[in-house]
């Protein structure tokens, strides 16, 4: 049930952190495998959701680092993935999705994860502070900066949030 309840949200977070759906799927499997292995040590100091996203965050960062070591190049955020719609699908929706991925990848990693965890996954600033190891006010400033930059980038791609 953990996987039913949180699998889609974890995948979406990983995909937008990594800019690559296939790698996000791999990372999601690792996240839930680790969650099952670690469930006995879960102390209940945070909600299960916060705990799971904490694992997802760490494994996504690992994947970003290993990709950079392996490829020696930035993640290709515009590469086609299996998620691409067929030619008959809505071209505009695809363009918007690509703009989101591209603009997210332009944010620094710490800003990107804060924006996603706040705007996509709805964590509060105190929760984010505990998760990211910073003061809630610092995270709030990071999210504010990130959303403004994201908005400008999207508008440059003619996507109006």
């Amino acid at each position: 049930m953990l996987m039913d309840a949180y699998g889609p949200a974890v995948l979406r977070y990983c995909e937008r952190m990594l800019g690559d759906l296939e790698r996000a799927r791999d990372v999601r499997q690792i996240v839930f495998l680790q969650a099952y292995e670690g469930l006995g040590h879960f102390e209940g100091r945070s909600s299960l959701r916060t705990w799971l996203f904490g694992i997802a965050r760490h494994r996504s960062l690992d994947a970003i680092k290993s990709a950079r070591v392996r490829r020696h190049e930035p993640i290709d955020s515009t590469a086609p993935t299996r998620d691409d719609p067929s030619p008959s699908a809505d071209v505009r929706a695809l363009a918007v999705q690509r703009a989101i991925i591209e603009c997210l990848q332009r944010l620094e990693r710490g800003v990107r994860e804060a924006v996603l965890l706040r705007c996509q996954d709805g964590f509060s600033f105190p929760e984010l502070g505990r998760m990211l190891g910073a003061r809630a006010g610092t995270i709030e400033a990071r999210v504010r900066r990130g959303t403004q930059r994201l908005r400008r980038c999207l508008e440059h791609h003619e996507v109006r949030p």
Binding site: M1, G7, R25, L39, G40, E43, S46, I100, C119
Partner: protein, 197 residues
């Protein structure tokens, strides 16, 4: 949320991937099995994982809500398995789907040790039944059975929770309640979600 956050949140929620990989949970269970068979001693300190993983694997084999067989007289469920059967359909509604007004019976075999309760949630946010003395519940011969009329549509989750001594009282939020049971060194067995349409 600020205006910028709300605007970005709307955009992120309105776009995104389509889940086209239906087998990923099975892949996770297979990975758990592989690791367990490679390094059995590693699992010993994590005794809580075994029933959870076993229960989760078992419930994958359960029929979905749409194919729940009607009728009675099922054998005693195996440990860790939660069985659901439809007892009565809402007047005027037929078919395999569960609807508001249907009555279901839930049965679960209980571990020999500890104190166990059965909790049923709707949408992971509302506790619709707590079998800890409720009149709809019957406990005998190591088994807990409950009959419940499904009053509202939504996804229902069924848990059997067992604590070594006592159990924390459920708050009604599935997420928090599972966390509290695990934090109290308890075990949680989960059913496949039941869809009421």
């Amino acid at each position: 949320m600020s205006d910028d956050e709300r605007a970005i949140a709307r955009l992120l929620a309105g776009t995104g991937l389509r889940e086209d990989d239906q087998e990923w949970t099975q892949a996770v269970f297979e990975a758990i099995d592989r690791r367990a068979s490679r390094s059995t001693p590693r699992w010993r300190p994590l005794s809580i994982l075994v029933p959870i993983a076993a229960a989760a694997a078992a419930v994958l084999l359960l029929p979905r809500a749409g194919t729940i067989p009607a009728g009675e007289g099922l054998p005693l469920p195996v440990l860790g398995r939660i069985e659901v059967e439809r007892l009565a359909a809402a007047p005027g509604l037929r078919g395999d789907d569960l609807h508001p007004g249907d009555t279901i019976r839930v049965r679960a075999r209980l571990p020999a040790e500890g104190r166990s309760e059965l909790w049923i949630y709707r949408e992971a946010r509302a506790l619709v039944l707590r079998c800890a003395g409720a009149p709809q519940c019957e406990r005998r011969a190591g088994m807990l059975a409950a009959e419940i009329r499904l009053d509202a549509p939504g996804t229902h989750q069924i848990l059997v929770v067992t604590g070594p001594g006592g159990l924390p009282g459920p708050t009604g939020k599935l997420d928090d309640d599972v966390a509290a049971v695990i934090a109290a060194a308890g075990e949680v067995r989960l059913s496949e979600s039941i869809e009421v349409r």
